[in-house]
């Protein structure tokens, strides 16, 4: 599978996802990024003396929904725990998280072949269709944001207390490409459920990686290294590629791999040891006495289930089956629900659904439209497909109609009339054009009759030019062939 000889990598991911809620996890402060510092704070998220947390029902619901979408088992009773450590971005110097009784356990993320890096989509690795198992999904609160200056740091507590969902995978991943696909596939599921926008570059999804190597066939895991400071999905892939190579090279030399945390430097293209901590953290987890256990079987499960969307895999299958689009097109549509909705509306009006897909995904998308607000009605594409299929216009003419449609969004039928583009399908008129073409191109006629079948194209071109592009190409082909073989 990998090109690294007799070694294989073992990779696990820990993903933190910012939830799309109006308010924070344990208080009613606004959950919004990018506003002036210290403008979304209260005694609770500042950790002032006397403050108490109260859980955000919507954050819990979204976490349950994520668990349902990923096939997890949802705990009937979930609890919050305190994770104790000191850091300036921690308002209470403990983080409210979940340890013993998380909301979700198990589940898995299917690797969408089209979400592998483009260069390797055609490989066995991408086509394998693996599902990466998850260990758990739990809910916790995010920390504040620090800014570092020359001789001091400043902390903005707007982000402190915002809801964060932690998704932990089993160490099932084997390549950087799979990690890339995992993050993309997970993101699609999260988008489909309106759980998070999960854009890594905006910090809405953060990823830590655990990676080790071992000789192929060995059961025991090698020494695990944690990688941090991964700021994009492709960054994760680059970091893993480097680190795996580093570890294998070291192993080949007989060097020990240090169990440590390394920082990925995208510019330098390498990982570096972070300042090593002397001891592993003793988080002293214990159940948070300020929070009662959450029962999911008293209405939360049902309300989460009611929000279940059509999952990306199911949607793609349905599009391929019922609409006849290609697997690639299905994957593009499934990744943009608004566009997909637009497409489905368009395809509803015609039996030529796959053709409509081509128009929308190739031509329409190239104009960078906003499917939610565009004045180009979906029905126009159905019309356009039918006009071509019915022979009223040919594909070259259809392109002209499309161009006009973009600047003048009205019914294509009307545009055909306006542009005078009706295709000529009358056999006697076409016959006349064909006779003219034959008369004007004796060399091509000779070549064709001598066996060079491509010579017919010159004749076809002559007919098209003479007819100002309106000749029905299928009929022209038939008529020419009939005359030439006569």
């Amino acid at each position: 599978m990998s090109s690294t000889g007799t070694w294989e990598a073992v990779i696990g991911l820990e993903v933190h996802v910012q939830l799309r809620t109006q308010t924070k996890m344990f208080c009613g402060c606004v959950n919004h990024y990018g506003d002036a510092p210290t403008t979304h704070v209260c005694p609770v998220c500042l950790g002032l003396p006397g403050s108490l947390p109260v859980p955000n029902e919507e954050a819990i619901r979204k976490t349950i929904l994520t668990g349902l979408m990923l096939g997890c088992k949802i705990a009937p009773v979930a609890r919050f725990d305190r994770k104790n450590y000191f850091y300036p971005d921690m308002p209470k110097n403990y983080q409210i998280s979940q340890f013993d009784d998380p909301l979700c356990a198990g589940g898995g993320v299917g690797l969408d072949p089209f979400l592998f890096p483009k260069e390797i989509q055609d490989t066995e690795e991408a086509k394998a269709g693996r599902t990466i198992r998850l260990t758990r999904i739990h809910l916790e609160e995010d920390v504040a944001k620090s800014f570092h200056f020359e001789d001091r740091s400043g902390i903005d507590f707007n982000r402190a207390g915002t809801p964060l969902m932690e998704i932990v995978s089993e160490a099932d991943l084997r390549t950087p490409g799979e990690a890339f696909a995992f993050l993309g596939s997970l993101r699609q599921v999260l988008l489909s459920g309106n759980v998070s926008d999960a854009d890594m570059e905006k910090g809405q999804m953060r990823c830590d990686v655990n990676v080790s190597v071992r000789p192929v066939g060995q059961k025991e895991f090698g020494t695990k290294v944690e990688l941090k400071n991964l700021n994009s999905i492709s960054g994760v892939r680059r970091a893993l590629t480097y680190e795996i190579a580093r570890q294998i090279a070291a192993c080949r030399k007989g060097e020990a791999i240090a169990h440590e945390t390394r920082r990925w430097d995208d510019e330098a293209g390498a990982t570096f040891t972070m300042r090593t901590k002397e001891k592993a953290h003793d988080y002293r987890y214990f159940p948070d006495p300020d929070l009662l256990p959450v029962r999911t079987d008293q209405g939360l499960m049902e309300s989460a289930r009611a929000e279940l969307p059509e999952l990306p895999a199911a949607l793609q299958a349905r599009l391929a089956k019922d609409f006849g689009v290609t697997a690639y097109q299905a994957s593009v549509l499934a990744s943009d629900r608004v566009l997909c909705g637009y497409y489905e509306k368009a395809a509803a009006g015609t039996t030529h659904k796959a053709v409509v897909a081509n128009w929308i995904l190739n031509d329409f998308l190239a104009t960078q439209p906003d499917p939610a607000t565009t004045p180009v009605e979906p029905a126009f594409f159905a019309e356009l497909a039918d006009l071509v299929a019915g022979g009223t216009i040919n594909s070259a003419q259809a392109k002209k109609v499309f161009a006009e449609l973009m600047t003048n969004p009205t019914s294509p039928k009307a545009l055909v009339k306006k542009l005078g583009l009706e295709q000529i399908s009358d056999s006697s008129a076409l016959g006349t054009y064909c006779d003219e073409a034959i008369a004007a191109n004796p060399r091509s006629v000779e070549d064709y009759r001598a066996g060079k079948t491509n010579a017919i194209n010159a004749l076809k071109g002559f007919v098209m030019k003479k007819s100002q592009g309106k000749a029905n190409p299928v009929q022209v082909d038939e008529i020419l062939k009939a005359k030439l073989s006569a």
């Binding site: 006397g50 403990y94 006495p289």
Partner: protein
């Protein structure tokens, strides 16, 4: 007679009848304060101007209209200092009202000042205050109890009409017993803890200290009820605690837990409490002997769980966002270590270390998790006992007030004196302490009545009947 000597109920009646004005009450209280505070030192902060201003604007149609209350220094009152009698919160001003405070305001009450306490509510004598000790109004060489020592001394010493305190292991009831006033710890979940600086989250409760049981019921009514800001508050609608009790205790089954009456008890305490039990029996109650078999483990369970929770609750005091910050810190670690080490007193440090230890890797199972299990057994003890009786009757404190300085070098001995009060917090039940006698040296002795969870109505009815049949509540400390 000074208005400072009257009960809330009586003052409310006189205010309504326009016999007196709220400013008269405030003025009398400040006269008493000026005369006695130098000795007592019950207060850490006084609101002279704002109390007078509030008195002028009082809305007498509200249940506590025109009534000034003293507030323990661990409850957030918007704009006032909130120091928890600790150096680490020197200069801290509360930017919000605790829910309990907001509810008192809604009921028309206002705030006279802030009372002294053991630092972060850790202690049983108020000797652990960084702001000086408070003295027992009955004998200034003795402790007032703790941690709500300031509140109890103020009420008993007639420099406050009533006060709020907090009780985690007995911190309302024990000082009430030692100072000779009424102290109520409601059932856990009755009163919102939002705005109470947390010591042990699963044990803390806010409660009133008053001169009479009726006054206690009046305050409880204003304070009780679910708060959306406190996830641990109970959803049930609080009953009316002010239904005129008929004074009868006929038919009540009173349980005496045998583990609370051991040989070697302080003789005067035992005599007074047994006399109280006898009064109940003479007036139609049945006395039953019950058992709370896990009582000997209660101190250990308490000091493991309370310190564990406290070690996390007090982690936020780090000099970063508020409170005292060590000067010229080299780095963040130095800032943490020095701010905390300079800001916390010895008892607080001791408990933080103990609490951190019992949660730490390798020890959490043997200490923290084991203590949680035994806590469940203690709770079960109470439930089984309440199948046989309606109320438990016990002493509040094993002995009357000891002398200042006598015990503050022996923390274990201090801890062991909490034996009669801590189980109630661990089980989550409500309990009251009220005067039931005096020693030869004129020191108050407290009677404790413990009820089933959410059984405050029974507790208050029985306590009121006992109180009104005796003169203990009328006795005043020497001036």
């Amino acid at each position: 007679m000074s208005l400072a000597h009257e009960t809330l109920v009586s003052l409310r009646r006189r205010l309504a009848a326009k016999e007196i004005h709220p400013r008269d009450i405030v003025k009398d209280l400040f006269t008493q304060i000026d005369a006695r505070e130098k000795t007592l030192h019950a207060y850490t902060h006084l609101n002279r101007e704002s109390a007078l201003a509030a008195a002028e604007k009082a809305d007498l149609s509200l249940p506590l209209g025109g009534i000034p209350i003293a507030i323990k220094d661990n409850l957030n009152v918007l704009g006032d200092p909130c120091t928890c009698s600790s150096k680490i919160l020197e200069g801290y001003k509360a930017p919000y009202d605790a829910t309990a405070i907001a509810r008192l305001r809604q009921a028309g009450a206002f705030f006279l000042g802030r009372t002294n306490m053991d630092e972060f509510a850790m202690g049983s004598s108020t000797e652990n205050s960084a702001l000086g000790v408070t003295r027992n109004p009955w004998d200034p060489t003795r402790i007032p109890g703790g941690s709500s020592g300031g509140s109890a001394a103020a009420v008993a010493g007639r420099v406050a009409l009533a006060a709020l305190g907090s009780d985690t292991g007995g911190s309302i009831r024990q000082p009430a017993a030692l100072c000779g006033c009424v102290g109520l710890k409601p059932t856990y979940g009755r009163i919102s803890r939002y705005g109470l600086v947390a010591f042990a989250s699963s044990l803390d409760q806010i409660g009133p200290l008053t001169r009479t049981v009726e006054d206690s019921a009046l305050l409880l009514s204003a304070l009780a009820g679910h708060d959306p800001r406190d996830n641990t508050t109970d959803l049930r609608k609080p009953e009316n605690f002010l239904t005129k009790p008929d004074g009868s205790v006929k038919g009540l089954r009173i349980g005496l837990p045998k583990e609370y009456f051991l040989p070697g008890m302080d003789t005067e305490t035992e005599a007074a409490v047994r006399a109280a039990a006898e009064w109940f029996r003479k007036n139609g109650a049945t006395i039953v002997e019950v058992s709370l078999p896990h009582t000997p483990a209660a101190i250990a369970v308490y000091y493991i769980l309370a310190t564990a929770e406290a070690s996390a609750n007090l982690a936020r005091f780090d000099g970063v966002r508020y409170g005292r910050r060590a000067t010229d810190a080299r780095d963040v670690l130095d800032l943490y270590q020095r701010s905390r080490s300079e800001g916390f007193g010895a008892e607080v440090k001791r408990r933080i270390i103990l609490g951190t230890f019992v949660l730490s890797q390798g020890y959490a199972d043997a200490y923290y998790r084991r203590a949680q299990k035994v806590r469940g057994l203690l709770r079960e003890d109470f439930e089984k006992a309440f199948a046989q009786c309606d109320l438990l009757l016990t002493p509040t404190s094993p002995e009357p007030a000891f002398r200042l300085g006598e015990r503050n070098q022996d923390p274990l001995k201090m801890y062991l004196a909490d034996v009669f009060t801590i189980s109630t917090n661990l089980a989550g039940n409500g309990a009251i302490s009220l005067p039931c006698g005096f020693t030869q040296s004129n020191l108050p002795i407290g009677l404790q009545l413990i009820g089933p969870r959410f059984g405050e109505e029974t507790i208050l009815r029985a306590a009121h009947a006992f109180e009104q049949a005796h003169d203990f509540w009328k006795r005043m400390p020497p001036s």
